[in-house]
């Protein structure tokens, strides 16, 4: 390197204050406005640069802020809001303002501009107070807190929250599909229509619940209440609920505190989940590992993200986190669908075999990443999703615009949960079609759900043979596609079967990446409908 080159090269060191270290990304553009460093996520970092002007872009969850600097000497930049401990030579870059439906506060200059005081105060207050007028289980050690808010009081007025607040259209159902609480006309809520917020809080026994939206574009949201923990859910509203904005926390204490640093990290993790961004830097992994006992959601989301990624360097740590979540941190909640989904994802990630009937899933994971893991695993192990179980019926009703498993509502019944645990019930319904189609070692013995070696010899039967020619011909005919009642899954199966009449249930299951029992259910429902119509005609 020549002397002149050395003179014209300087170091640029970029650091971050603790609370932003895990959530910011930094990119560097040169004086020609060309990108020279993209998405730096580990801090501090030192770069050697030629003398010149540079643009530093700081990004948090898609919000960006650009700052210009002159590099004519060695430069130190710190990303943060507190300049107290910095000497004059350090350039402080404040992060961009961040939007979240959850309410946060950081000590110096709150970057969470959407955390208006007129929302933060009622959220803190009603996280501690029961709002329901209907009876609640006082003895329960767990509770559910839901906070609805518009992006601001001005937006609430713009969206006509005064005469038609979105939050009046929700109801809370239990796992049997029974309405526990309705929010109609503000029942069971504390709310302020002028400011545009509403809070729901009650004690509940552990288990699966549903929040149903009954307004335009109906939607069902599963919520799990963990024993000895408090589930806290935040959602933004506009003309319709903003399902992508949902944030969920599982806290050991009932109070919601906007200062909680772990909740801010959870906010970022949920954003990553929504964007399929599975990259966790080492410091974020450390925070997850350290914080999981105080904040189980941190461990849950961290494990989901890591196990969904292709990385393997922290397999041991995350296996331990998954095990600790089930056996220590969330002890007594081992039937929670998200914990089972994590185990399944962990097995997929590490290449371990899933044993048939080993997992019994009652209900559905709160997080879509968990539901999708179960659905994917059910291709090889159909018993994970029995016919007419909740996870089976969600298949064609799932929405993809939220990190949660939200779906088009259908009547919820206790039977959908029973089916997941009672393998006798599964086999009587499912073997009729499915087990005849399963070649070899995965065969299920009728009435037991266990492996039946005798069935190895059964040849796969195509669905044309199973349905019979007449029913098959009706099945593959395109129904009136303008009708809302037509099941798209039926259409997809019909399209495939029309092109290849030799397809078996297993083939369709593999092509569609859904449980063979779901394929069965669609075929069987159609077959029964045809039978019923035939009988009607006879009368």
């Amino acid at each position: 390197m020549s002397a002149s080159n050395t003179v014209n090269r300087f170091t640029l060191q970029i650091g971050s204050q603790k609370q932003y270290m895990f959530i910011v990304k930094v990119s560097v553009f040169d004086g020609g406005l060309q990108l020279i460093e993209n998405n730096i996520v580990s801090f501090p970092i030192t770069k050697e640069l030629e003398k010149g002007l540079y643009m530093i872009r700081v990004e948090i969850s898609g919000a960006v802020k650009d700052t210009y600097v002159t590099v004519d000497k060695n430069i130190r930049i710190e990303i943060g809001t507190n300049s107290n401990h910095l000497d004059d030579s350090v350039i402080l870059i404040e992060p961009p303002e961040v939007y979240s439906s959850a309410l946060f506060y950081d000590g110096y200059r709150n970057i969470y501009k959407s955390s208006h005081e007129y929302y933060t105060m009622p959220a803190e207050r009603f996280s501690n107070e029961v709002t329901t007028t209907s009876p609640f289980v006082r003895s329960a050690q767990s509770s559910l807190f839901i906070f609805f808010r518009y992006s601001s009081r001005e937006k609430a007025r713009e969206y006509d929250a005064l005469s038609n607040p979105c939050f009046f259209n929700f109801t809370i159902l239990n796992a049997k599909g029974e309405t526990l609480y309705t929010f109609h006309n503000g029942e069971n809520l504390q709310y302020d229509m002028l400011e545009g917020w509403a809070a729901f809080n009650t004690f509940l026994e552990k288990g699966m619940y549903f929040m149903e939206f009954n307004g335009t574009n109906k939607r069902m949201i599963p919520i799990y209440v963990y024993e000895n923990f408090h589930t806290q859910l935040f959602m933004s509203l506009a003309l319709e609920p903003q399902y992508g904005s949902i944030r969920v926390f599982i806290n050991p204490t009932r109070s919601y505190t906007p200062h909680d640093e772990y909740n801010k990290v959870i906010d970022v993790l949920m954003d990553k989940l929504q964007n399929n961004d599975y990259l966790l830097n080492d410091k974020l992994v450390t925070i997850i590992a350290d914080g999981k006992f105080d904040s189980p959601m941190l461990g849950l989301l961290g494990a989901y993200l890591y196990l969904k990624s292709d990385r393997t360097h922290k397999d041991e740590l995350f296996s331990l986190i998954v095990s600790n979540l089930k056996n220590k941190i969330l002890l007594g909640n081992d039937t929670a669908p998200d914990l089972i989904a994590l185990e399944i994802l962990s097995n997929i990630h590490t290449g371990k075999e899933l044993l048939l009937n080993q997992k019994k899933i009652t209900g559905t994971p709160m997080f879509r990443i968990g539901y999708e893991a179960i659905r994917k695993a059910s291709v090889a192990d159909p018993a994970l999703i029995p016919s007419n179980s909740l996870n089976d019926l969600i298949t064609e009703n799932l929405y993809y615009d939220s990190p949660l498993t939200t779906f088009k509502p259908f009547p919820i019944s206790e039977d959908q949960f029973t089916r997941a645990t009672d393998y006798t019930a599964i086999s009587t319904d499912d073997v009729i079609l499915f087990d005849q189609t399963v070649p070899g070692s995965n065969a299920v013995k009728p009435g037991t759900g266990s492996f039946d070696p005798l069935r190895k010899s059964i040849r796969p039967i195509n669905i044309k043979t199973l349905l019979g020619e007449e029913v098959f011909n009706q099945f593959v005919q395109l129904p009136d596609t303008d009708s809302e009642s037509v099941n798209w899954l039926h259409l997809a199966m019909a399209e495939m079967a029309r092109k290849d009449e030799g397809l078996t249930v297993k083939d369709l299951s593999e092509k569609l990446q859904i449980s063979g029992n779901t394929v069965n259910r669609v075929l069987k429902t159609f077959s029964i409908d045809v039978q019923n119509k035939r009988e009607d005609r006879q009368f």
Partner: protein, 337 residues
């Protein structure tokens, strides 16, 4: 000789029938791209080489066949007349979907897309690969201003166009694919300066093509345009309260570059001084060198020429400084200090 198919779809099967909401700006976006393609300061395509397909609500138009018909017509014209074609542009504005298990493809939804006709969409990758395979183009450019959220079990379709033999450039065609947003994310329409709904990505794309994406030689090339889109799209989206980061991939290199446009290197700048600015002002360029010194007392504003990039103005008396950027997308830049 360059060719283009420009598609703008506002109209879809109604949501009550499982379809998609009507868009406000897709047709306008397509028209703006068409205008750039045909303009002398832009793509310089002959009018007959730019095939615009815009939607109508009743009857719902276009269907997939109409798109394939236009592709066939272009290829037939090239084959029959022995035309040496250079570039094929494919632009789409409308609803789009991400494709499960394929992070690089996008399903471009056509008018009859609905919950139960999930595959009524064309695949960017399948169409691009078909165009590459024909061998009749040296370069194939795809721009898709649409969302890429996932909807389960969407299998976008291939083109029905498939040639028996390949053209002269088979296996050597370079491509660029530009998506308005990342896999699984949304793209947005916002109101422009004249209160018309327009796609964020297309607005930035046109500015980039008009010079914002120019390299120091004044050439709008694939790399500089990509960087411009990555830099400016999130900023425009955020101004309107949205998050949107585009995704651009290409196979061009320095030996086989893709030059979309050539713009003047020197850009006119009207540099204005505040009344209390009395000392000389130094203009520092992106390399940190003093490019020129201006006298606020002599002429205000003063007309100067600068190349695209980042600059700093420094008041030599007070030491006060001000960073500013010069972009070649505008004929004249204005700076106040």
């Amino acid at each position: 000789m360059d060719y283009a198919i420009v598609i703008g779809i506002n109209d879809y099967m109604p949501p009550s029938l499982g379809g998609l909401r009507t868009l406000g700006g897709a047709i306008r976006d397509a028209e703006a791209i068409e205008q750039w393609l045909l303009s002398e300061s832009g793509g310089r395509l002959p009018k007959q080489n730019c095939r615009k397909i815009i939607s109508t609500p009743n009857p719902l138009f276009p269907l997939k066949d109409q798109i394939d018909d236009e592709i066939e017509s272009i290829i037939r014209e090239i084959m029959i007349n022995g035309i040496e074609a250079r570039r094929f542009y494919f632009y789409f504005a409308g609803h789009g979907l991400g494709v499960e298990q394929n992070v690089t493809d996008t399903a471009l939804c056509l008018v009859k897309w609905s919950e139960i006709r999930r595959s009524y969409a064309i695949s960017v990758e399948k169409y691009r690969n078909m165009l590459l395979a024909t061998g009749y183009f040296k370069q194939v450019i795809f721009w898709a201003d649409c969302c890429r959220n996932i909807v389960y079990n969407v299998e976008p379709e291939s083109s029905t166009v498939s040639l028996p033999t390949n053209g002269p450039h088979a296996g050597r065609t370079r491509f660029l694919t530009g998506y308005a947003t990342q896999y699984q994310d949304e793209s947005y329409e916002i109101e422009n300066d004249v209160a018309e709904k327009r796609g964020v990505f297309t607005q930035v794309l046109i500015k980039g093509l008009n010079g914002g994406g120019a390299n120091p030689k004044g050439e709008v090339d694939a790399d500089y345009l990509r960087n411009y889109l990555l830099k400016e799209t999130p900023v425009l989206a955020e101004k309107n309260g949205y998050k949107q980061v585009p995704e651009i991939m290409h196979s061009f290199n320095i030996h086989e570059p893709c030059i979309f446009n050539i713009v003047p290197i020197n850009i006119k700048v009207a540099f204005g001084f505040s009344p209390n600015r009395l000392h000389q002002v130094e203009i520092i360029d992106g390399k940190g060198e003093t490019r020129m010194t201006l006298d606020p007392t002599a002429e205000n504003p003063v007309q100067i020429l600068l190349t695209k990039g980042l600059y700093k103005a420094v008041d030599t008396g007070s030491g006060e400084s001000h960073y500013f950027t010069i972009s070649s997308e505008n004929e004249e830049n204005h700076v106040s200090f």
